[in-house]
Amino acid sequence: MKWLDKLTERSSRNVARQTSRRSFLTGLGTVLVGSTAIPLLPVARAAGGGSAEESGNGYHGVASQTTGRIDDPGDPTSCEYWRYCAIDGFLCSCCGGSVNSCPPGTEMSPMTWIGTCLNPADNKHYIISYNDCCGKTSCGRCLCNKNESDKPPYRAFSNNDTNWCLGTESTLYHCSTGVIVGIATDKQ
């Protein structure tokens, strides 16, 4: 299940933290300086002031998590977490699941699309299987769209526009995981 970012007004306010440059939102009052988005418009600026409610992941009302491993760095509730380089959907880490497990009552899709993401801790590329969790309505939380090496639907298994809730009892899409299935030996 793959798609583009939903831009509620909320997300456009939290533009600096919620979205990387890889977002529609770059057109809504931000400018890119290096890899940091700086809000420019008054609306964005007014809302951009950090507060205790804003965790580093940029999703208002979603607290940060850690993997607990120094060799798996980052926040699994953040769209910037390294495994999510080609993810497209709601992060299961925000929905009662985790980076590699589905929320209760959903079914993990046996078919997936595959990404190859760089782990900044060991500088190795890992093969990530973006298994969808299926059978409940859209989670709604932590929508994240990254498209590194995403291909069009005619390269199906590298495509994140497809509803990958396939081979499950129900094709309703709920959220997405990012499961390590191997090391990409052919990448540097």
Partner: protein, 381 residues
């Protein structure tokens, strides 16, 4: 950080020799405990922007992290009720064969708490399930959770009695001109009626209706209606009115005892026109405290406007104990049970604000598009 520092850090980190991260386990689906802690609530998202697609989200309000535990679908003005004696959840819904149209099927779905997965369903004939913006008293237990009662509205009013042990419908009780289900004693329930009184329906042990009886009139629907929401402390139901009266009704015996009402307002409060307002505007803690969502400058029609404050009352002394100024405008409120209760508030952004129910201090916000409109908050009972 400038590039040099980043470069040094990168060199440092990549200089460490890590073993490859292991492959993740395959096909893991989370499970929940068979019974939930007191700090877990059920937030019913009515989702007005896609009404057929509502849901109930299980939320641990005590946890800063991983507080979204899971969800079950409860759409099309559905009703929801968690069991406290079984590891089950009940959802009354309406389905159509072509989602928006086609053949209608009303169903009570039974979910298990561990897997949040449907384990059975009871099909409801007649296409008359009451569809209202989420009210607590459209789906209730009776007889120590042996019976499940569902409100119907077609626009004739009735209550369907389901034997949950047998998962069978056993009765339909007509309650003409009345609404809602307020369980009284073991085998009876009251309903609020258009003529300013309660109708009490008495069942036998099999769930069949034995008799019905009307109380005397005890409020004025014209001048100062009681809200259909109430809060229970022990066996006493506290119904607030539009103009901030509280009407206690003792539901411990078969026939409700209408107790003496009192006003939430001081003279100063009255002059400032403070009133209850919002959706789920009242909640209670078992220690004897009543929490009411209040707004100033009330007027005809402000009773759903929400509120800026939650007022805390001791029901014995009828005194106001506290006045919590909310961080964000409130829409619905619920208090969790136990010694360290939380006050959970659906705010105007439709996120949940979690406060201490003891001193009103704000603790955290839970949201992030987890809900479109969590109108109703079910705390464990």
């Amino acid at each position: 950080m400038n590039r040099l520092v980043i470069g040094i850090l990168t060199a440092f980190i990549t200089g460490l020799v890590f073993a490859d991260l292991p492959n993740d386990p395959n096909n893991v689906v989370e499970k929940l405990p068979a019974s939930y802690p007191d700090t877990w609530i059920y937030a019913h998202d009515t989702n007005f922007f896609a009404l057929a697609d509502g849901k109930v989200v299980v939320v641990d309000v005590a946890a800063e992290n991983k507080n979204y535990k899971g969800s079950v679908g409860v759409g099309q003005f559905g009703s929801f009720l968690p069991s406290s004696t079984r590891s089950e959840l009940y959802a009354a819904e309406t389905f159509y064969s072509r989602r928006l149209r086609g053949e209608r099927t009303d169903v009570i779905t039974i979910y298990d708490k561990v897997n949040l997965a449907p384990i059975d369903e009871i099909v409801l004939p007649g296409g008359k399930r009451g569809q209202l913006v989420t009210y607590e008293n459209t789906l209730q237990f009776l007889n120590n959770e042996k019976f499940l009662l569902l409100f119907n509205f077609s626009p004739a009013s009735s209550v369907t009695v389901i034997d949950i042990d047998k998962r069978k419908i056993v009765e339909e009780v007509q309650i003409p001109g009345c609404s809602m289900i307020y369980p009284t004693a073991k085998l009876s329930f009251a309903s609020l009626c258009s003529d300013d009184l309660m109708l009490v329906s008495y069942l036998d042990k099999k769930g069949k209706v034995k008799s019905q009886k009307r109380t005397k009139k005890f409020f004025s629907g014209d001048d100062d209606p009681l809200f259909a929401f109430n809060a229970m402390i022990g066996n006493v139901a506290y119904f607030p009115s539009y103009n901030a009266q509280v009407q206690p009704v003792d539901l411990s015996s078969k026939t409700p005892k209408i107790l003496k009402g009192w006003s939430l307002l001081s003279d100063k409060d009255k002059s400032e026109k403070w009133r209850p307002g919002g959706w789920q505007i009242i909640t209670a803690h078992e220690s004897g405290q009543l929490f009411v969502l209040m707004h100033k400058d009330g007027y005809n029609g402000s009773h759903k406007d929400g509120g800026s404050e939650v007022w805390v009352f001791d029901v014995k002394s009828k005194k106001r104990l506290n006045r919590f100024v909310l961080k964000e405008w409130g829409v619905s409120i619920a208090v969790t049970k136990g010694d360290d209760p939380y006050l959970v508030v659906t705010n105007g952004n439709y996120d949940l604000d979690v406060y201490s129910a003891k001193d009103g201090s704000w603790i955290r916000v839970i949201g992030g598009k987890a809900f479109e409109m969590p109108m109703m908050l079910h705390a464990a009972k």
